[in-house]
Amino acid sequence: MTAVAQPRITQTHADVTRDVVATLQTPSRGYYILLFSAVGLFLVGLLTFLILIKDGLGHSGYTPPVMWSVYITTFVFWVGIGHAGTLISAILFLFRSPWRTAVYRATEAMTVFAVMTAGLFPIIHIGRQWVFYWLLPYPNQRYLWPNFKSPLIWDVFAISTYLTVSTLFLIFGLIPDVAAVRDKARGWRKFIYSQLSLGWTGSDNQWRHYSRAYLYMAALATPLVLSVHSVVSWDFAASIVPGWHGTIFAPYFVAGAIYSGIGMVLTLLIPLRKALKIEHMINEYHFDNLSKLTLLTGSILFYAYAMEYFVAWYSGNTFEQTTFFRRAFGPQWWAGWTMIICNAFVSQLLWFRKIRTNLTALFVISIFINIGMWFERYVIIVSSLSNDYVPWAWDVLNPTWADWGILAGSFGWFGMYFLLFARTFPIVAIQEIKEMIPMPRRRAGGGHH
């Protein structure tokens, strides 16, 4: 597989600051159109949610036997989206991968907002949202504690740790860049960025502790990201529902999460680089590498899908076999095939270099990935619950307007935060790009690296 060579960076340090600070200037009309559509979608979600609070969850398609449906599907979808961000910002940092620098800030921001979005869904799903804090272990008048043997409580800990740590990681990485913006800003902006830069000057003492701490944060985030989707997968795998009770669930979910996350990274970055005029900083080289990661994780998914069917057949277990037969040929066969075609097959197009470097093609593929990965979770959750052990209780889920309203709202909520972030903070990591550019020298030749 031929790689796109890493382009030589011709910018100087001052150019990097200038170009990135320029992304924070008055945005174009296109930006406002996107922002207002995001806010509009969010309001649709908010209105739906208010109706759910008033009347109850009956509006959504919850009918026995499917009591986990679109909300939990969307929860897993958004948690998964987050994973690519941490892979790029933390795991590739530990691997010293040079292409991550230009894209990691955007992906890390995506992680934080995706997990913020995901976190809403279990809360919407519980029905009485105002008592969500019952999930946390705190001394209460009934002397009760959570059941720590339940995967749902593991999930509470995993998701809240993930949200906290990735938010801290994002903010920590931003501090030197906010200081760089502060030093270019004037007026009230300068005041705000001064407060946010927490007194950063870039002194030797600060960098000395900062660089170490950043390394440890990356080292802590790496096992964390792998654990989070494993724990999410155990929400299903630890039960004995056919189609869920599989030992491959944890790696299968982690690969799927990274796959869906990179799909979302592509969907966001391809238009964003144009809107913010940073095409020279995020270019073919980065998209080629992102595509290869997509191909790798997509192929792992392909294998996992094949293995699920194989295990179902080989187990000789009627319930398992029926579930998988109905995924492909049951009443919701179209969902099953959407998942297989969008994930296993579409990702295989990325073997071709022509496609990996064609941004229009990549954008279209990324949309397929987003759709495919949402349907993967839909198929896993809904199809397994529809066909339980008791055939007379079988039923097909029909999502309602309340399901779609909340789903649309989640895209608005996520998009709104992401767009506001891209407008307010440097979306390309200034100091890390500078680290890759050699500084001018008095004596010719001889760099440190």
């Binding site: 200081a179 007194g199 003492n205 701490a213 440890y216 654990s227």
Partner: protein, 174 residues
Amino acid sequence: MALPLPRPKVVPGVLASFEQVDAACDAIRALRDRGHRDLTVYTSHPNHEVEEACGHKNSPVRLFTLIGGLSGCAAGFAMTIWMSRDWPVLVGGKTIGSIPPYVVIAFELTILLGAFFTLGSVALLSLAKAGRKVLYDERFTDDRIGVFVPARADREAELTSFFREAGAVEVRHG
């Protein structure tokens, strides 16, 4: 413009700006050889050459990360085991304080407290030098390297000529 914290002590001295990294590093080494220990060196990004020239020992952040991680792990097991024994949920004769499921909670808290301690330690270690105010220039977050030497007014001339010779593009007093 900053938060209304106690007013820091202004340290007088000389601030030189460099454009070339090797010139800055030579100057830092020369100053250290002359016995200056409390230099402040500004860079826009972490730079290995500058780090080496400053000759710092390893940052103690690692110790805090370790303590945070271990406390998180201990807290995770302690909390889950104690809470299960405090309110036993008896299901099918299964163990009350069962370790394997609690590993998940202990793991998450290891990461959480490890992260809190790591970042807390950076704040703490940076605060050690927050009490003194030294000269700064806005171009240090852009493309210049700054070297600040605390010095009394009578040594300014000597340090200025030293920095000029070392290749500084700008020298300021304050």
